[in-house]
């Protein structure tokens, strides 16, 4: 029987108490197959369209479907939303939705006492509980007395709500995540039209499934509305004053990065070429770019990481804006080609979405431990500029900046994002096209050198005196035929040269070119004239800024600065560092930026490190910073 979806709008009853909150952190947790990422994404979209500021943290196992009901198989999605501007996905969830005993066990330790926990009681069978080491039911043995537990038979209620549909029990059960989403949407007064629209579109070819999911979603909403277990719902007002005027959307780091690359290609008026090999957590950029062929984007899924960058370099020689995307293990394989690009001085953007290492490491977890690989991981003196975005939305601007440097200086450029930025999302003020930088490139069109005998010739390594960039002469340009390669080249002519003095000159020139990349000064946020500085780079911006706010609120003065350019460093960085008594560098590695800073500036920078695959928690970081500031 076909069930029609009514067009009614869900409205909150005036009978129940409504409390106002400034901010809430919710975590959805379940089996990898329970659809927690989708549930989180939908709640995020509802929250974004409502106008809250938000920040998300998806957290999932590397296995596509780990054994059901086990701790390693738990997938979660945390969302922090507020009526003011926020910087992180939140340290601890105020509300945990646990779809099974494994999800409860894996996540309950993160919930502060007094927090709300919603569990699917149907899944708390003896066998399921034993699987994760619960000898007695945590719902009954008092071990959760410190929490406000809402036991809801989510599965039964979902199946019941869908009994009119011609679905098997198993099929009906699949919609329980939408029931949970409906319940949470009621609890937090989320707009529901977007989700219903989304479900209609997602299952456009299976209207019955769309209707069932919408029915489950509404049933969850109605359950909150009618059951006495949920006596209170919450309002979190839009964060209108936190945002500059503009049109906003929600966006993840990888999506913003992909859009940044397309924008760079448009702004440079060059076709975009992506050579890539699938790797977590970078593959989404390949997927996204492959959708946009109508922008002239060519995506090439290569046979391996080496071919991915090789094809990109070939396209760069032909005049494309060339990009390769990967993660740490892929960078290791690409190193030789990056060095070739250094030597041939062709523009190339190398996107590294860092993940836990070494080797395969933690494919789905975040880390910042590729900085030194990007900086030094090649044979010979092979300097490469490095750009790192600080937030998911900043991936857009960082991609444009990486492309600017690559095109202006004819060099490979590293763009160091990470798993946290890649999958996390937040509201983004959509820029007007007029705000985007002009990346227009001047190709070589004719001879650029006159020989002693008066002949005009083209010299592929005759440099621009300002940028030290060499000319980019595209195949197809008559008279500029030339050969380039990885063997050392004679200054100017580009011919093979083994001359010792020439090699030394070329090595120093390539270094000078990268050192001379035009990089804006670093800005320091120091409202109280502090004597200590916390310096960060990349995705730690949110947690560091949140920790700094906490410290300042507690009366501890501290200055903050965050690096976008890791090579070269901003020209004023040394001066900034030396103007503070103490410099602390928190990193999700064992001190890689600190190593660079100490080596270059001879400053006694202290490291604070975390390499557990997760971003810093603001509270913990604030405490650690305070401790370090107190030390001599």
């Amino acid at each position: 029987m076909a069930v029609q979806i009514s067009e009614r709008v869900l409205t909150q009853s005036p009978d129940k108490e409504v409390r106002r909150l400034n901010r809430v952190v919710i975590r959805f947790a379940g089996d990898s197959g329970d659809g927690m990422q989708l549930t989180g994404d939908r709640f995020t979209s509802e929250t974004a369209s409502f106008g809250n500021d938000l920040s998300t943290l998806p957290n999932f196992p590397a296995e596509i479907r780990a054994p059901a009901g086990t701790l390693p198989g738990v997938s979660s999605f945390q969302l922090h939303f507020a009526d003011h501007d926020i910087l992180t996905p939140g340290d601890a969830p105020d509300v945990l939705v646990a779809m099974n005993p494994a999800a409860l066990k894996a996540n309950i330790k993160d919930v502060p006492r007094g927090g709300e926990v919603i569990v699917d009681t149907d899944e708390f069978t003896k066998r399921a509980m034993q699987k994760v080491g619960y000898d007695t039911s945590p719902l009954e043995d008092g071990s959760l007395d410190a929490y406000r537990i809402h036991g809801v038979p989510l599965t039964t209620l979902t199946v019941e709500a869908l009994k009119e549909f011609d679905l098997s029990r198993k099929e009906a059960e699949r919609s329980k995540n939408m029931f949970a989403l409906g319940l949470l949407s009621w609890m937090y007064h989320r707009p529901t039209e977007g989700t219903e629209q989304f479900l209609k579109q997602k299952f456009a070819k299976k209207p019955q499934i769309a209707a069932a999911n919408i029915a489950a979603f509404r049933a969850g909403w109605n359950f909150g509305e009618t059951t006495e277990d949920f006596a209170v719902s919450y309002e979190v007002a839009p964060a209108a004053t936190a945002f500059p005027v503009g049109t906003y959307r929600n966006i993840s780091g990888n999506l913003a990065l992909a859009y940044g690359l397309i924008a760079a290609s448009q702004q440079a008026d060059l076709p975009l070429f992506l050579g890539s090999y699938p790797i977590t957590p970078a593959s989404d950029i390949l997927h996204e770019l492959s959708k946009h062929k109508n922008f002239g984007v060519r995506t090439f899924q290569a046979e391996d990481e080496i071919a991915g960058i090789g094809a990109a370099l070939g396209a760069a020689f032909g005049g494309s804006l060339a990009v390769t995307t990967t993660s740490g293990p892929g960078v290791a394989l690409k190193s030789e080609t990056i060095a070739l690009a250094v030597s041939m001085e062709l523009p190339l953007v190398v996107v590294d979405i860092q993940r836990g290492g070494p080797s395969t490491g933690l494919p789905t977890k975040t880390e910042q431990a590729d900085l030194l690989q990007a900086m030094y991981g090649r044979n010979g003196e092979a300097p490469v500029p490095i750009v790192a975005p600080r937030t998911p939305t900043d991936c857009f601007a960082a991609a444009l900046e990486a492309a600017r440097i690559a095109l202006t200086y004819r060099t490979p450029v590293f763009l160091l994002s990470d798993g946290y930025l890649a999958n996390g999302s937040e509201p983004w003020r959509i820029p007007a096209l007029t705000e985007l930088p002009d990346l227009t490139v001047q190709f070589a069109t004719g001879p650029n050198h006159t020989l002693d005998d008066g002949t005009d010739v083209f010299w592929p390594y005759k440099r621009d005196p300002q940028t030290l960039a060499r000319p980019w002469a595209l195949p197809g340009t008559p008279g500029l035929e030339h050969r380039i390669g990885g063997i050392e080249k004679e200054d100017g002519t580009g011919n093979i040269s083994y001359d010792p003095a020439n090699h030394e000159f070329m090595v120093r020139t390539r270094r000078a070119k990268v050192d001379g990349v035009d990089v804006p000064d670093i800005e320091v946020d120091d409202p109280h004239g502090a004597t200590s500085l916390v310096l960060g780079w990349g995705s730690t911006y949110g947690p560091i800024t949140a920790a700094v706010r906490r410290l300042r609120t507690a009366g501890v003065p501290i200055a903050q600065a965050h690096l976008r350019h890791l090579n070269p460093f901003p020209g004023n960085l040394g001066e900034v560092l030396r103007s503070y008594d103490k410099v602390v560098i928190p990193e999700m590695n064992l001190g890689q930026l600190a190593t660079l800073i100490r080596a270059k500036y001879l400053v006694d920078a202290r490291s604070y490190n975390q390499v557990n695959g997760m971003p810093f928690k603001a509270e913990q970081l604030a405490a650690a910073l305070q401790e370090m500031l107190r030390e001599d």
Binding site: F50, Y259, G310, G314, P478
Partner: protein, 348 residues
């Protein structure tokens, strides 16, 4: 010939393709003959020389681009097919040639070679096979015969060699040929057919390294020996060789394998007729494997396979055109905006 290629305004000569760089192969190297043949053939393409690109890897043969007055890239070991793939797919107006060797293409770069062949990108790959590592001074290569004594195999090499032609055929190559450095006429004819082929063409060129593996192909070059050793393939003709065509290739009806037989009068009708355009590569693989890897007897040369199938870069261009037809030319502002936005107005 593809229509996208810009034609040269004036007729070119071999001299136009000689660069100003001093050629630095060892005197007597087979590479000189190949270079001369390629430079001699290029004017026939009628393509503007600025629209021709030679991409190479690493090895003696890979110095080739420096000596061609075209655009060129001397890249890194084994990666030329990958680099050329990016260039050819993004610039369909270029005639892209890859120069590689047996170590470059079949050892360190084996992966890129087979994937280029299966994709059928518009590349012409010249594989100089001298059955030795020359630039690193004389180690055995993936085409060296078993038991070869070299610096790295003082008691003889243990590796079974690749047959490059049969490897290429197994990798779904649409065009595979073999020729010999010293046979300029044959080499030029093979280049001609390869250039006319849409898609990837692999040409294995037997090339003498007179320093580290001198005489490796003498059996195919010495006039008397060659009569017995070389099988010259011509499309549409019965496969015969030897003095007065006394030997020929037939299919063994019992096993389906190919074998060499003495041709007796009246038997000619039973000879295998070479069909380079055969849909199945099996007969070509059988032909390629007639050669004895040690003595090189019964080595077929010529075009073993030349079939039409979709060309990667053409199809990629087609997908881009189709995307524009279906969705319109990309609108950046619309892309960035998406379809789920909200507005924060000014507080005034």
């Amino acid at each position: 010939m593809r229509t996208e290629l810009a034609l040269s305004a004036k007729p070119l000569t071999a001299k136009d393709f000689k660069s100003d760089q001093e050629t630095r192969w060892c005197p007597g190297c087979g590479d000189y003959a190949i270079l001369a043949a390629v430079q001699g053939f290029m004017p026939e393409l009628q393509v503007a020389k600025e629209n021709i690109v030679f991409v190479s890897g690493i090895g003696c043969s890979s110095r080739f681009p420096y000596y061609m007055n075209t655009y060129g890239m001397h890249s890194i070991h084994g990666r030329a097919p990958a680099i050329a793939t990016g260039l050819a797919t993004s610039r369909r107006d270029l005639s892209v040639w890859v120069v590689t060797g047996d170590g470059d293409a079949l050892s360190i770069g084996g992966n890129h070679l087979i994937h280029a062949l299966r994709r059928n990108v518009n590349l012409k790959i010249l594989l100089f096979n001298n059955r030795i590592y020359g630039l690193t001074k004389g180690q055995y290569s993936p085409t060296s015969e078993v038991g070869k004594i070299t610096k790295s195999t003082p008691m003889g090499s243990l590796d079974a060699p690749f047959n490059p032609v049969s490897l290429a055929l197994g990798a779904e190559a649409s065009f595979v040929a073999r020729t010999i450095d010293s046979d300029r006429k044959h080499l030029t004819e093979v280049l001609r057919q390869a250039a006319a082929h849409p898609g990837t063409a692999l040409i294995e060129i037997y090339q003498n390294c007179n320093i580290f593996n001198d005489g490796a192909f003498d059996a195919l070059k010495d006039k008397q020996q060659a009569e017995e050793a070389v099988i010259r393939l011509e499309h549409g003709k019965p496969i015969r060789f030897g003095a007065d065509g006394a030997r020929g290739v037939v299919r063994d009806p019992a096993t389906g394998d190919l074998k060499v037989v003495d041709v007796t009068p009246g038997d000619e009708a039973g000879l295998l007729v070479h069909d380079a355009h055969a849909a199945s590569p099996l007969t070509a693989i059988g032909l390629a494997r007639l050669a004895d890897p040690d003595t090189l007897h019964h080595t077929p040369i010529g075009v073993l396979r030349d079939v039409r199938r979709p060309v990667y870069d053409t199809q990629m261009a087609h997908q881009l055109d189709t995307a524009v037809e279906q969705k319109g030319k990309g609108d950046l502002a619309a892309l960035l905006t998406g379809n789920d936005t909200w507005t924060v107005g000014s507080s005034s």
